[in-house]
Amino acid sequence: MVAPGLAEIFYYLGFIVVATLVPIIALFLIVTPRDAKPSPMKLETYEAGQMPSGRGRTRFIIQYYPYLLIFVIYDVVAMFLFAWALTLRTLQPPGSGTWPILIFMGVLLVPLAYSIHLASQRDLW
């Protein structure tokens, strides 16, 4: 006998396993009875009708890199806010968790505003 919450997690994992098996079996059923006729032209990558030239994984502009950096840092904030939001109704006295979260957000949001300001300045990047 397992706890009800744990059983639900097992149901979910079971569903994922079944959902994984179905497309894989479908893929094998589709691939096996086929006679493939590969040709060199067919196996080239698409480049708007031209013969592909150069590397496929080209160099790319890292123009939006600052946003990626901010994202890595601030994505975790949402998780802390979820924990606070969950206890908002049950906390006694009501609203007693607000000052800590306000200080926490204040500490995090001031650097966030500054980094967004910096991210918009193209010359820096």
């Binding site: 919450g5 959902a19 590969p38 080239e44 698409y46 496929g56 901010i70 994202f71 607000t98």
Partner: protein, 331 residues
């Protein structure tokens, strides 16, 4: 083998129904877009205005030759769209269509859903990288940048619902919306969160559309710019998986929106609960499809800028409004 759980996994909220509903959604998408643009859309595949067109397309795709580009990383090239399809099915497994018709009632249903969603840009980047071609690679990178723009506003707009309901369980969230509000003279309206959470619902709608990568936010695909982007190299069945995955996410997000903001399966009694869920899902998904038919595509720098300034700011404003509604003006 005919236990309710097996039926649920295999048939109704589970795999068979997901396949059929996705085919119907693809038909709805084509039909609505056609009507907006004064075309007819699919017409001949059945007496009912071409409902069976998607099924015909499915058979056609299944019989296409599967060829993989010469320089591609074969394993990940095949795995990425299939994993995207599985990830979409995993989202549907968390949705309560009614209290009985749900595969898995996780206590942390809402964060589990949102966490599962974050996998899809990774898979798109994987698909773009493994194809070893220019357009898919650009599409994959765009997907990565786009994620940074919508991800945090998406989570923060969902926090408003958790603050109102006091639970992250999706069934609990629907049950918290069951009490109607009396305005005056005994006149009452349903207590759905679309009213106190109007701003949050709008933000969730916008960011969910960005997550699904549908127009106006379909930068990773962008047919006129980068020729279907990350899907450019996919043949036959794999293209069907890649394109179908976005429709599975459309289905899952419409269902989640109706659960979070539109009272899920609740509605006046004579109509069965499951039918209410279906009606709400169809309304929300039709709205998302209408966006596709009417809006132009945003530029990626505009999206990033708007995501980090307007959307994030409005999401924090929504949290403040919700705090005033729940706790009142005191700290």
């Amino acid at each position: 083998m005919t236990s309710p759980l097996f039926f649920k996994v295999a048939v109704f909220p589970g795999l068979t129904s997901i396949g059929i509903i996705i085919a119907l959604f693809i038909w709805l998408d084509r039909k609505i877009t056609a009507r907006v643009q004064l075309r007819v859309g699919p017409l001949y595949a059945s007496p009912l205005g071409g409902v069976l067109q998607s099924f015909a397309d499915l058979i056609k795709f299944a019989f296409k030759e599967l060829f993989i580009p010469r320089n591609a990383d074969k394993f990940f090239f095949v795995a990425a769209p299939v994993l995207a399809l599985i990830g979409g099915a995993g989202l549907v497994g968390l949705i309560p269509f009614t209290p009985e018709w749900q595969i898995s009632n996780l206590e942390l249903g809402l964060p589990a859903f949102l966490a599962f969603v974050t996998l899809s840009p990774m898979l798109i980047l994987l698909a773009g990288w493994s194809a070893n071609s220019k357009y898919p690679f650009i599409g994959g990178l765009r997907s990565l940048f786009q994620q940074t723009a919508y991800e945090i506003p998406l989570w923060l707009s969902a926090i408003g619902v958790v603050m109102m309901a006091g639970t992250m369980n999706l069934i609990g969230i629907v049950q918290a919306q069951s009490k109607p509000w009396v305005i005056f003279l005994g006149l009452s309206i349903p207590g759905w969160y679309i009213i106190p959470q109007a701003l949050g619902a709008l933000l969730f709608f916008i960011t969910a559309t960005a997550e699904m990568e549908r127009i106006p936010f379909d930068l990773p695909e962008a047919e006129p710019e980068i020729i279907m982007g990350w899907q450019a190299e996919y043949p036959g069945f794999l293209f069907m998986s890649a394109a179908g995955a976005s429709f599975v996410r459309l289905y899952a997000f419409s269902a989640l929106f109706s659960v979070l903001y539109l009272g899920g399966w609740m509605g006046p009694a004579p109509v069965p609960a499951l039918l209410w869920t279906a009606i709400k899902i169809i309304i929300v998904s039709s709205l998302i499809i209408l966006l596709r038919a009417t809006f132009p595509r945003v530029r990626i720098d505009q999206l990033l800028r708007a995501g980090w300034t307007y959307l994030l700011g409005l999401a924090f404003l929504n949290i403040v409004i919700t705090y005033l509604l729940v706790v009142g003006p005191r700290i």
